[in-house]
Amino acid sequence: MIIKLWVNDKKITDEIDGDAILLDFLRDHGCYSVKRGCETSNCGLCTVLMDSKLVLSCSTLVARADGKHVITLEGLQEEAKEFGGFLADQGAEQCGFCSPGLVISVLTMVKELKNPSDREISEYLSGNLCRCSGYMGQLRAIKRYLNQKGAQKNEIS
């Protein structure tokens, strides 16, 4: 089938198979930030935005993206760089494999949640697994990032 979609604001028309998966399609179109982890909808590594909503590209049919706008980290480089600095400052990355999924989720969370508490942050990001960091460095980085943006209700502890 022929589909038309926008990937990072670039219009793409392509012929796809009915069972083509968005993750593969995005990588075939040069979006290497999108990674395959568990492939069972659990780890969040493959997270992208589809019409401004976070989705798991490993579990999304490309056919469902027809007519939609898909954003990957390649399309959010400025914002990702800014938040990436906070992660680095807190030593929150070890292997860094989980970072693309985490970063895109954090950037979306900032838009969706007003003054999130630590609990709300952890809950929002519970679909982004990290096997190295133990999450505390990430949480510190997120809180400092939110504080700089004036968007957190808790004091930094």
Binding site: M1, D17, G18, D19, T40, S41, N42, G44, T47, K53, L54, V55, L56, S59, T60, L61, A63, R64, S105, E123, Y124, L125, S126, G127, N128
Partner: protein, 264 residues
């Protein structure tokens, strides 16, 4: 692995129903569950062009299109006001935001999964399933029904001001629940649904079982003990039969206390 030959974006429910009569054709909800299986699909029936991704509120009911996501349930203010946040609590622990943006209400209810938080919670509400061919039937009846080739169009929840509580327990954050308990109260009727036993949710209802005025702790415990006994339990890798039965007792008791709050 799952393979799909054609992805068919249907224009009408009748077209979807007709296609769905053939075993090799399959309705696609959020695709989260289907993707985990092994299947060769000839025609994937896509309902996303039929406007079923909306929650409509009328004076006396909520009409939830089958393509609404679990995240839509979680974020809908009117719906959660009606059930005091119970539906939000039921879906909140399902994997993560990205997952809940994908998994649909239709897929969750059609599947009638044993572990389902969604089915357990909806069961204690005055809830109905609208089927293309089968018409409107109660969720309780639908849960017992054999799988067939109908199309689940909407879930209907009547507004009847019942008080609702939902609780579940997991061994790990993103795991399936090992027990799921919903309790509701309407006038002097108490509704209890227990799911993840690990069998699918079942509903019981009892009238006039607790004193109208301030039932005592003993009375509540006695009711919970009776209610827990109305369900069967089983063991699997997540929990033993005995543990589930004990947890059901504890959560029914807590649920009843919750729905009795502010009553007196």
């Amino acid at each position: 692995m799952i393979t799909i030959n054609n992805f068919v974006k249907v224009k009408t429910l009748a077209e979807a129903y007709q296609l769905n009569q053939k075993r090799t054709n399959v309705v696609i909800g959020g695709f989260m569950w289907l993707k985990m299986g092994n299947r060769k699909i000839q025609n994937a029936i896509d309902l996303s062009g039929l406007g079923l991704n909306k929650i409509e509120e009328t004076d006396d009911e909520f009409r939830i299109g089958s393509m609404c996501t679990l995240r839509d349930l979680e974020l809908h203010e009117g719906l959660n006001n009606e059930c005091q946040g119970a539906l939000k609590e039921a879906v909140y622990h399902i994997v993560g935001v990205q997952f809940r943006n994908g998994a649909t209400v239709g897929g969750s209810i059609y599947g009638r999964y044993g572990f389902s938080d969604v089915l357990t919670c909806l069961m204690v509400l005055d809830c109905y399933v609208e089927l293309f061919k089968g018409g409107i039937i109660s969720l309780k009846e639908f849960a017992k029904k054999k799988y067939d080739n109908d199309i689940l169009v909407r879930i209907l929840i009547k507004k009847d001001s019942r008080k609702v509580s939902y609780q579940s327990q997991r061994n790990a954050k993103m795991d399936f629940p090992l027990i799921a308990v919903a309790v509701a109260k309407k006038k002097n009727n108490i509704f209890v649904a227990v799911g993840a036993r690990p069998m699918k949710a079942k509903l019981i209802q009892k009238s006039g079982c607790l004193s109208e005025q301030n039932p005592s702790q003993e009375e509540i415990a006695e009711f919970a003990d009776w209610a827990k006994g109305q369900f069967s339990y089983g063991s699997n890798m997540r929990a033993s039969k005995e543990y589930r039965e004990y947890l059901a007792y504890v959560y029914i008791k807590r649920g009843v206390k919750e729905v009795l709050k502010d009553d007196h």
